[in-house]
Amino acid sequence: MSSGSSRSGAHRRLDLRLGLDVGGTNTDAVVLDRTDGLIAKAKAPTSADVSSGIEAAVDAVLAAGDVDRTRISHVMLGTTHATNAVLERRALHRVAIVRIGAPATLSVRPLLTWPEDLKAVVSGGEAIVRGGIELDGREIVPFDGDAVRGFLAPLAGRVDAVAITSVFAPVSPRHELAAADIAREVMGDGVHLSLSHELGSLGILERENSTILNGALLGVARDVAGTLATALGRRGIDAALYFAQNDGTLMALEHAVRFPVLTIGSGPANSLRGAAYLTGRADGIVVDIGGTSTDIGVLVGGFPRESSQAVEIGGVRTNFRMPDIISIAIGGGTIVRPGAIGPDSVAWRISREALAFGGDTPTLTDAALLAGRASSIGSVMPDPAHAELLAGGLALADLAVADAIDRVKTSRSAVSVIAVGGGSILLADSIPGVSEILRPAHHDVANAIGAAIAKVSGSAEEVVTFAARGHAEAVGAIAARAGAVAVAAGADPERVEVVDVEETPLTYLMEPGARIRVKAAGPLIMG
């Protein structure tokens, strides 16, 4: 599991990238060249263990394009390993939970809202110790290191990881760092640490939950990284490894094994980024239609628009930055009945049960065929006797998609829609409020392409008052920190740029202030 430095063969050409995306149904693989041109693509069914599906997809794509595997310099993986581990409560670390904030925060203990079964698997004990930071960077009270030592000492050897969260750690991490030193001292340098200031934004309960989940996933992350490195090594691929994360950017493997929680939500993000790449558009609405559902998201400046709502993973409320996606139960396999469509779908059985494949279940794919939106699918044209039923179903689907597009629109003006996914043949050629519909080639592997072409990013956040320094100066300082994070993750220092500035004015303060979050990203340094 190396990342670049150990690559051998000083003179071999290193100009190809391998993108992988593990989806619910298929694992997709693509190979791109230096100019982002598509060399090969392949799909394999996603396996229960995820890993063998990845291996099958890699083998298929290498064979499909007759790819010289020694030329592959970077491998990017978008995976559902972490999501599945949380949902299935499987292979999770036991975590000692330290919160720094007492006497503040004592009114809500850690894990209060966690599902009991997940809590039982994850928690190795909880403590709230004195300390924590104020909004302006002062201490609430002095940090109580002895309390951390006293809590952790008996847990040595009984937990796999320590999750540490301090009040206003995004303003100053110093109490978290002090607690981390004590954890290493008491439990040894090998102890896995998850620190909240590295996981982002304000809202201590959500950030603490994310930090604990991250600690619980550290083992899973190391396993996946190891498995992937082994599988690639066995195939003679010696490349730097990257993981896709929820904001549509990449993190280096070293980063991913420390922040596995950030891989959750990478699927929709990759789909949006892939759509941007396939069309050359930076802004627009992406409609990703699969077999059972349609995901609709928004591209802003080439990146997914993030949700402002708290996101729940496995019953735990978190502060993950997730793409703002609306999902509706409309897909190629959605079953059409008189006056109603879905929500059920024939899913992967479409090639047996849909009318076009000689079956007797009317689906939206049949409707699209009969309406002339698609051709050369299936073996027979659906019987015109179903015409009225199917036309009615398609009309309902059109209405639902148009409504969902309208819900995610960022402004009143008409927008461009990018259609991706195998079910995108359903989409009408004209939609109210939509100026144009783009249907790019290779839309069926948009996710894997999205992973392969992604930029490497970093973000930083701070609460500032503008009395101390001007607005531009404050934003500039935070942007510099965000850029440094991106470069540390593998971005080209010459080409890192700010991609997003988010500012939340603070109310009820006498001097004007705001919470500012900056995201910077840049392309990978290629071999």
Partner: protein, 383 residues
């Protein structure tokens, strides 16, 4: 309005507040918050924790308490951004009580929320659980307002001082003599010094005084509004309107939001374009922490102190001003405010002019025929 026949106040509400009722109370507090008062989520968790640790809280009416018993009106003041990060210790209520008892020389008989709207509606429940004291089924607003003196006790001539401000560390400040806007100014300064948030108790009074100076039944009203939302099978928005007698100003979609920072508060304007039956109409709404003025096609249809609230079209949940974003499907409603706010001093304190709007106050039911009256218990306050 047909829905009004449901609106007879009935005390069939349990006399204790249990953990499982808290989410509904929080929903109701959000509806009464008129978009402000802070989001109730964290405050709800605090109440859940406190009741889980210390048992259910008694909910009492004026008649359940001795006339000379002390009612401690209380809550938090501070910045929402701090509220979600530096959570309270849970002991702030105990510090307030100690100081109030020392100052009054008598025990506190019950806690009361100064502000039922938003997160502060939940706060006294948390403290009461820990202190073993009851919560009075009343509050000082019947809604949410941004400033300390915008309470019905102020209208009734009850002094704010001595006001007590404490923080999670146990720092305590007592403000003597300060009235009206001075209580607001000084308490706010202390809250900032404490790190952006502090707990306070002011307008402390006897039960006899509280009868005419507070809005009765608002905790029960919040619980009923919350239950109407969570219990609705198909139409939670309709259920809220039926229960509260609110005017349904517009069904629409948020088309534009403009926010600006002015004088320590967020001010802004939102534009909502009509959909369905309201297609073609446009509603403009003025925001200063709360929703203050609603105009449909340029005509005023509701102003503060009437309670303008935006409900999510699907879920019926109230939408906080800070969560408002383009594309949301909403139903804008206006609930008539408690009668005491319609007195001359009430309007001087919290009418359109108090927020800088050059508009006369016209009651929402006059602007929208068919609207009911204040849905709470018929007021001692203002009656």
């Amino acid at each position: 309005m047909l829905g009004r026949c449901w609106l007879v106040y009935h005390p069939a509400v349990p006399r204790t507040i249990r953990v499982d009722e808290l989410p509904d109370i929080a929903r109701g507090c959000s509806v009464l918050g008129a978009g402000g008062g802070g989001e109730a989520y964290t405050a709800t968790l605090m109440a859940i924790q406190a009741i889980a640790d210390h048992g259910p809280v008694q909910l009492v009416e004026y008649d359940d308490l001795p006339d000379d018993g002390i009612v401690m009106s209380c809550g938090f003041l501070g910045a929402p951004t701090v509220t979600i990060e530096k959570l309270s210790s849970g002991d702030e209520g105990a510090y307030l009580r100690e100081e109030v008892e020392r100052l009054r020389g008598a025990p506190v008989a019950a806690l009361m929320c100064a502000e039922i709207g938003g997160s502060n509606g939940m706060v006294p429940i948390t403290w009461a659980a820990k202190l073993g004291l009851p919560v009075l089924d009343a509050d000082g607003m019947g809604r949410a307002f941004p400033e300390v003196q915008q309470v019905t006790m102020h209208l009734a001539g009850i002094p704010a001082a001595p006001a007590v401000v404490v923080d999670e560390r146990g720092h305590r400040a007592v403000i003597h003599q300060a009235e009206g806007e001075w209580a607001e100014r000084l308490e706010r300064a202390i809250a900032i010094a404490c790190g952006g948030i502090a707990a306070s108790a002011e307008y402390t009074m006897t039960v006899a005084q509280a009868r005419g100076a507070t809005v009765p039944g608002t905790m029960t009203l919040a619980a009923e509004i919350g239950r109407s939302i969570s219990g609705a099978e198909t139409d939670p928005v309709g259920a809220v309107i039926a229960l509260t007698g609110a005017a349904r100003l517009l069904d629409g979609k948020v088309a534009d939001i403009e926010r600006r920072f002015e004088g320590g508060f967020i001010r802004g304007t939102a534009t909502i374009e009509g959909t369905r039956g309201d297609s073609g109409k446009t509603l403009g709404i003025e925001i200063q922490n709360e929703f203050l003025v609603a105009k449909v096609d340029g005509h005023v249809r509701a102003t503060a102190p009437d309670i303008i609230t935006l409900l999510d079209e699907q879920t019926g949940e109230a939408i906080h001003t800070e969560r408002l974003k383009y594309g949301q499907r909403v139903v804008v409603i206006a609930i008539p405010c408690p009668p005491i706010w319609r007195t001359p001093i009430g309007l001087q304190t919290a009418g359109p002019a108090a927020f800088g709007f050059d508009l006369p106050y016209v009651p929402v039911e006059q602007l929208n025929p068919g609207t009911g009256a204040w849905p709470g218990k018929d007021a001692g306050a203002g009656a």
